[in-house]
Point group: C3
Chain length 317, copies 3
């Protein structure tokens, strides 16, 4: 396993879920696999869950972990080619990436969409540099277009909590005061399309995801209708793809509340966290017994550990 970005990179989902269950049951069973192996976690954007869960997963496997908070160090990297570097960026990604690759065995990178240039974001210009030039396996810890460790944890959480085959899973947009990237909904949709679930996406008009993700997905613009009979409600805000990076609505009638949850099949409530209470979801729903957000976050260790474990197994071959 040389990179982890898209759902294709994980291969067969039922096999991945089986490994996830094994890892969760016995997280220290491979605690010498990573001996004398080092993972560098690079954060261009800061993080709580991703930082802790990925570091924990790597330590469970006996790896050495180096965390690099680019964000705090004010380390600005040039990404354009052919420029005279006489400005505020002291280093080019073209040197930085292969050098980091020489100091470790696996690189995990967090680098959000800039919302400045849709093409640059959707080409994954930062992450691609790592994938192409690091010389070691690369993991997206949320990049411009995807958050695959989250999606894998989400799928595993659904697997753990589903009470029937092919549950109805609803991804619902919800309001938020700031413009948020599409990485989480993109990956969620990408994974759910392949998983054995019935996926429905609901959002106000104008919030359609990029075609490469939304193609073939059932979109229901009536949120209440979408909720009917749902087994899982997955709430998330994202900014517009078509009017790129813009907030088109802060309509709180889209907030997930008890009334809407009553329309579901006693659905579990999911969110990737952090969550804005009483914007995305009411206190009543997130504090209810059907809220599985903490378990979902806990499963981030599981997804990260399966991915890192596979990469280590590849390295040891």
């Amino acid at each position: 396993m040389k990179r982890y970005l898209t759902v294709d990179d994980i291969g067969d989902l039922s096999q991945a879920l089986k490994e996830a269950a094994e890892v969760k049951k016995n997280p220290y069973a491979w605690d010498t696999l990573g001996k004398n192996k080092t993972i560098v976690l690079i954060f261009f954007n800061s993080s709580l869950r991703t930082r802790l869960s990925t570091q924990k997963a790597a330590m469970n496997l006996g790896m050495n972990v180096i965390v690099l908070d680019v964000n705090n160090d004010g380390w600005k990297l040039e990404t354009e080619f052919g420029v005279v570097m006489d400005g505020d960026k002291p280093e080019h990604l073209r040197e930085a990436v292969p050098v980091i690759g020489r100091y470790c065995d696996i690189i995990a990178v967090r680098s959000f969409a800039s919302f400045e240039d849709r093409d640059a974001d959707y080409e994954e210009r930062i992450l691609s540099q790592f994938i192409d030039h690091a010389g070691v396996p690369v993991i997206s810890m949320e990049s411009a277009t995807r958050h695959p460790l989250q999606a894998f944890a989400d799928l595993y959480t659904i697997e753990e909590h589903k009470s029937k085959d092919k549950p109805k899973v609803v991804l619902t947009w919800a309001p938020h005061p700031r413009a948020l990237p599409q990485a989480v909904p993109n990956s969620f949709v990408e994974w759910m399309k392949v998983a054995d679930v019935e996926l429905v996406v609901t959002h106000p008009k104008g919030y359609e995801l990029a075609p490469e993700f939304s193609d073939g997905v059932t979109v229901e613009y009536d949120q209440k209708k979408a909720f009917e009979g749902a087994d899982f409600i997955y709430a998330k805000n994202w900014a517009s793809y078509n009017d790129y990076g813009k907030i088109l609505s802060k309509d709180k009638s889209w907030t997930v509340d008890e009334e809407k949850m009553a329309l579901t099949n006693n659905a579990k409530f999911m969110h990737c966290l952090p969550v804005r209470r009483n914007m995305i979801v009411t206190d009543g729903v997130i504090d209810s017994e059907n809220s599985i957000v903490v378990e979902e976050a806990a499963n981030r260790v599981v997804s990260a550990q399966v991915v890192i474990k596979r990469m280590l197994e590849s390295l040891n071959k």
Copy 2:
């Protein structure tokens, strides 16, 4: 041992001092106790000694350590309930705490008094959330009202350096340019009241500590009188409790100097560090042979290791 905040949490002091001596003598005797166990150190306020000594203590016990500098990440947590989270705080402590608890076996938290709301500070609203909702043992690495790892190190340092039973220990206020929390003097007094020492506290009028700490303590407003016959001088600045968080005096006649030390029984000089030279204490005193501030700081590893060791032993039961 499920939490470490007050002197009661450590139980019998003579037993604790005995364990401290064992840990200091042979710090690596339990270096497999923490195998596959993780401690997260969360710093809402930055730190030198606490960071290094707590991390060192955990590593001595073979633990994995994750350090989270909330301070640098600009990670603002909502702590109020029922609010619409549409402002600058993207996450509620109510989600953050149990999630962090899922990623580790022990949490240590540093979160100073805000000085904005005395009730909020003295109810330990931040730390209480961790204690109540983390689901794992919680250590205060200095919270709003207490600094128990410091107080334990202080007691052990006195034990190491005392030349008679029941030494006279004087806590003296001293001037400082900024308003400082009461956590260190509160814990020091809380511990010394239980310890086998004669405690005298001296400070200008208006600097009385909170009743829950000062009750039953001898206060002597004449600093020189307090120093007479002292075996240990413990200097510290703190802001007013009654006029909460205010600086009432910067009177440098309270600075600990050679003349005052001459009134003592050849007392050792102590301070938790960092110390403002020639404000809190003169160069002459802190550079003298009787200054034991570096040894006192070194003992922070010892106190942290005893506490973490006990928690690990509880977890392994």
Copy 3:
């Protein structure tokens, strides 16, 4: 080995290069040498290569590593003596250094020249405090006047890539938008003077290095003449020593380009990184097959590991 700052501290260079080759061939051969030993890496100035490579080297030796980013923590240390500390510096280096020394077995420090006071910089006032008062071995990870881990890595890289005995090595100044310290050229010259190479230094007039480094070195003010027959071109910018800390030139006719490289004996191109493309060196040169900058950076692990290994061996004696 108690300190690592000057070329004298490493002793015989051929022995050091032999150890470097062993470490590079089998980096994990001493992975229990550092068991229960802790190194603290203190960064007064932030870093990519130095941080990653030194941490990696210490982990290869089985050490515990604590990283302290003083830079981010806004931790200002008083360095003057006898002052009343009533300003913005809460702690004196005189306490901080011995305390840190009590928490670890080796200290590595990064602290650049301030360019405010040439005497203070060239007396290495910060690093000297660590060397004199830490009580444990101290490594310069680039201090005011030297960058010895870089110089050792540079020498080893030359050793790996040289195609003849006594190669011609040219250190060339090149333009840069900001004023940079002299630590890298100082150490490079200090090491090359002792190494078995023919050293030529080329720079515009006014950029002469400090006499303690430049004494006995061949300086050629005509860059093209200097390049003739060179086996290694080592490019670097530095600010003036004589007009201390000043930028005297940004003349891009000093940029290393293909035309100048054509004058050499098919020379390898070296730079310590980060490098400003099309200021220091053209894309054409740094992207050519003769560019060995990534390998040079990779060798930073090797030099750090030899130094830390020697210190651990001293400690274990």
